[in-house]
Symmetry: C2
Subunit: 448 residues, 2 copies
């Protein structure tokens, strides 16, 4: 069935109250599919679907929804069923939902939960955002090292629901210190009477609770892990981060880089209200407006030159624009490159030399091209030479600005992506106009 057919079928079953057929259909669907269908339903049908789901399925559905929709579902469910679902939800999903609420709402939800469950979530929410502690979950199974393979398998059976989405067992000592890891595959390959400490892998790679989520993503990516254990500062196992959460982290981090590079402000998506989006975008724009006026004041300094050779104004947008563009290009290469590379001093020098050479090649090509165009268009070789020479210099400097500024920020532990595309563009505007009119002033007598 296509998604559209599925939607039609779901509507038919809900409207006709064919509860048995509905149950069969629901059994066949993945939680993600149910969530996709749910969001497309009208309000009365949403009510009916929620009423038809058992607690396990409802929890699965809620976990797939975004925070706003989760809130909506909880409103529909009423307090008693909400608590039941929240007690069942994964810690990390619940912490994320609660983190999206006002402090008051979050407190209200938490205080209605079971003590043991709410304590675990509260702890999760105490870790700083974007760290391993905040994105880890407690869907893992641990065993002591003296267990045999068959005892381990029995424990997996007992925790069948928890162990659904994972692939490793963690071996700990009496202080919860992490000693080793065993994969489900290891269990299958081993004999039932084998001791766990004979088959476990002891050089376990783990991350600390306060490790940045980007570093956690690097570990999972580099080692091709399905999950990585999280330990506290006493090396005690406190959770795991799974690969499916890491994919979301990787996408989130890439989106953040794009938002910063484009100076578009954080957290604007298709659902953000216009006033909020405008408010988030304005700070950058006002800053850039002021810098843009600096460009204007440079022009006003050279009013005399401009008054004498008005044709100089024709090439202003091109020179300023090109310098901005080449700067943005270099910036993008450097910012994304820094994500995967820890640079040594030698590599930094190599990169700067490379970009200098790139600037030189680009500058010469575009400079010669524009000299010819300016000569043909305006009939003045001297004007052509002034424009061409300026472009060569500004492109080299623009490339360097787009390279060195993010490298410097990185050096001083500032996220290089804060040097947004618009900022580099606007700074390069100022620089390029200064160079252009400077050169024009020097050669003014030849231009007249």
């Amino acid at each position: 069935m296509t998604e559209e057919q599925l939607q039609k079928e779901m509507r038919r079953l809900l409207e006709g109250a064919h509860s048995e057929e509905l149950e069969i259909l629901l059994q066949e669907l993945q939680p993600y599919d149910v969530a996709s269908l749910f969001t497309e339903l009208t309000d009365p049908l949403k009510e009916k679907l929620i009423a038809a789901l058992d607690p396990i399925m409802l929890t699965d559905l809620v976990e797939e929804l975004d925070n706003e929709q989760q809130y909506e579902v909880f409103q529909r469910l009423g307090p008693a069923r909400t608590v039941e679902i929240m007690d069942r939800m994964d810690n990390d999903d619940l912490a994320q939902f609660l983190g999206s609420l006002s402090e008051e709402d979050s407190f209200r939800f938490l205080s209605s939960m079971k003590q043991s469950e709410s304590a675990a979530v509260r702890q999760l929410m105490n870790y700083p955002p974007e760290t391993a502690g905040r994105i880890m979950n407690n869907r893992y199974v641990w065993i002591p090292q003296h267990y045999t393979v068959s005892e381990a398998i029995a424990k997996i059976r007992d925790f069948a629901e928890i162990s659904e989405a994972i692939s490793y067992l963690y071996v700990i000592d009496s202080n919860k210190k992490l000693l080793g890891v065993v994969s489900y595959r290891d269990l299958i390959l081993a004999m039932p009477e084998h001791k766990i400490n004979e088959i476990m892998y002891t050089r376990v790679i783990s991350v600390a609770v306060d490790t940045d989520q980007e570093k956690v993503a690097d570990v999972i990516r580099n080692y091709d892990f399905l999950a990585v254990p999280v330990v506290d500062h006493q090396d005690r196992l406190v959770g795991i981060v799974t690969v499916d959460d890491i994919i979301d982290v990787v996408i989130l981090e890439a989106n953040e880089d794009i938002q910063k590079l484009s100076g578009s402000g954080r957290d604007i998506d298709f659902n953000t209200r216009a006033s909020v989006a405008a408010f988030r975008r304005l700070p950058w724009l006002v800053l850039l407006l002021l810098i843009g006026l600096v460009s204007g004041s440079i022009i006003s300094q050279f009013e005399e030159v401009l008054g004498k050779v008005v044709a100089l104004a024709y090439f202003m947008p091109m020179i300023a624009g090109m310098t901005g563009n080449t700067g943005t290009q270099s910036l993008a290469v450097v910012v994304r490159g820094l994500i995967n590379n820890e640079l040594t001093a030698r590599e930094v020098l190599h990169l700067i030399r490379r970009e200098l050479l790139v600037g030189l090649i680009i500058g010469l090509t575009c400079g010669i091209l524009v000299t010819l165009i300016a000569f043909i268009w305006q009939g003045s070789l001297m004007l052509g030479l002034v424009v061409g020479l300026s472009l060569i210099l500004t492109l080299i400097i623009g490339t360097m600005a787009g390279t060195i500024i993010p490298l410097l920020l990185n050096k001083f532990k500032v996220d290089p992506a804060v040097a947004s595309g618009p900022l580099i563009t606007t700074l390069n505007d100022v620089l390029s106009l200064f160079i252009y009119f400077g050169i024009a002033s020097i050669f003014l007598t030849y231009l007249l």
Copy 2:
């Protein structure tokens, strides 16, 4: 041990030829760690390390290296050992390596391999780039549906090496048609005498060989799968795509978006040669240069106006720059949003209305601000009003251009990210100057 200590230790063991200690160290390391250490070694020590590795470890090492380093290792190994390693390598890794070579080199490598192995790789390389067929691998285990759980486990034991990194068994019929899937966890939870077709999950979600890799990533992300089976057009199982490869796809696609948004040209990283990088960046720059000159010719059309009110020139860079910046902001929001959303007509209208409102709010705020600044700076209220009114209009139009152009491209199945930031910026330059000088011309008599 920190990475630095590890490096020192590795150098000591290699230089001193402590082969037993070296072996113990190597056994403890993950392939990624060995590869990290390897790339930092001097050439003679690389030789020694390669000589010390057994074929399995060497294959693991080679699979972790990038294509250039793989080539280097194969040169050192000589033909005989190279073939041995290539026969052992995962299909997808090998296909990627061969794809990075010239046709001639690729043919030379392939023809030295075992017939059975090279045929499989050749087939993989026939699928179009960036499709499921190109990134899938053959590290999966399949079983017929009449197997019992214990027979299935026996098969996993037989294919222990292949089944290392995977978590599912695929159930197929005599035509290799995919019937169901069983996770290792299902096997552990089931009784040995259970039939596979009693415990298998039959609503298998699969992708076709020619599915775009971004769609494959969406499937794995949405369903939180560890792997997804790939089928041909007769629904026969031909491979699997695993989550670790998907993480790389997600990062690659995000980088591509950033490269396109910044107009920086494809495939430029820290190792790209300057001439190649310059060559890849030039096409955009030359195009933008020509469009930039259109801006210039607009100014030349309004030479008379500009000659009469030179102060108009001071606000040119600010107006052009701001319009470009707001356009880039909208562009980034839309391009990244389109990745996760299939938009309906209603949602498109909603988005356009939202961005129109954003443009209005931003335009009014910045317009009023700049009217005041222009009035104070130049002492002419009329000039201030002309500049302010122009900015309001250009910001609204710039926001709309940054929204509607990528939406139109998406509508016509063109990747919206080709509407790069520089292109939007430069187009907005042209538009904004036209509006600015147009308004100035209308109010010229009041400006004098």
